[in-house]
Symmetry: C2
Subunit: 116 residues, 2 copies
DNA sequence: TTCATATTCAACCAATTGGTTGATCTTTGC
DNA sequence: GCAAAGATCAACCAATTGGTTGAATATGAA
């Protein structure tokens, strides 16, 4: 029922899942390692990961007993193109992104610190 | 609790709301006119519009008894920048966008046709 | 074989979402 | 003043979401 954009935007509309994507930007990770920084059960993270997978934002590949998660950056393109139609955003401002990313990493990927 | 990105992405994760934004791309509209193409109560559209407003994606201004809705394209910039960090998207491909928009207009803004 | 590790499944729960209907409020036109 | 139009509010409902816990299912290591 829900189209691709529904799933991509819905997947992105959660702080935990965005933090996961940001972590995966650095490197591929196993499910347990993805879960480590969060104050939340492994099962919850597992659910988040399947939502991200269904949206096509990540891919999961099982090797042995470990399931590796890696970013699928292509999946965001359609959504990104959709959004760009609504403003004349200057072509990728990487500086702005780097600054934003730093903040996101502080706020999201270290829930212990933010929840005080 | 939910930060700005939460609200923007959550607002975009709904076909009806995306259709509304697409309609507003053409021109500012009154609430009743926004509601007209949808098979849904005015109250439902009113809720969608307040979600879009809370997310900062549109602004509503009351003139007389009519409330005008207009796009606030700036609000999407932060989200767009966030997304662009995950892929090396070629600088705005307007052709692709135009094609995509045509499809969105057919599928979303004319629910009668799509629901057959 | 046996034990531990990696991950998911299943059932449950509270909160949120997207919709409805009917009442309400404000503004306009006669 | 009064009725109609524009829009929201309030109460409700079913479905979904984001989390929990405990059991189940691999797989790897000893």
């Amino acid at each position: 029922m829900a189209d691709d954009l529904d799933q991509v935007f819905a997947a992105l509309a959660d702080r935990t899942r965005r933090a996961i994507l940001t972590m995966l930007l650095e490197d591929d990770m196993a499910v347990t390692d993805v879960a480590e920084p969060f104050e939340m059960s492994l099962a919850a993270i597992s659910k988040h990961l399947s939502i991200l997978t269904r949206a096509g934002l990540i891919a999961q590949e099982k090797r042995g007993r470990v399931k590796w998660c890696k970013l699928e950056p292509d999946a965001m393109r359609t959504a990104s193109v959709w959004m760009q139609g609504f403003g004349q955003f200057e072509p990728v401002n990487l500086d702005a992104f780097e600054r934003f990313l730093a903040v996101e990493l502080d706020n999201d990927a270290q829930p212990d610190a933010q929840d005080l």
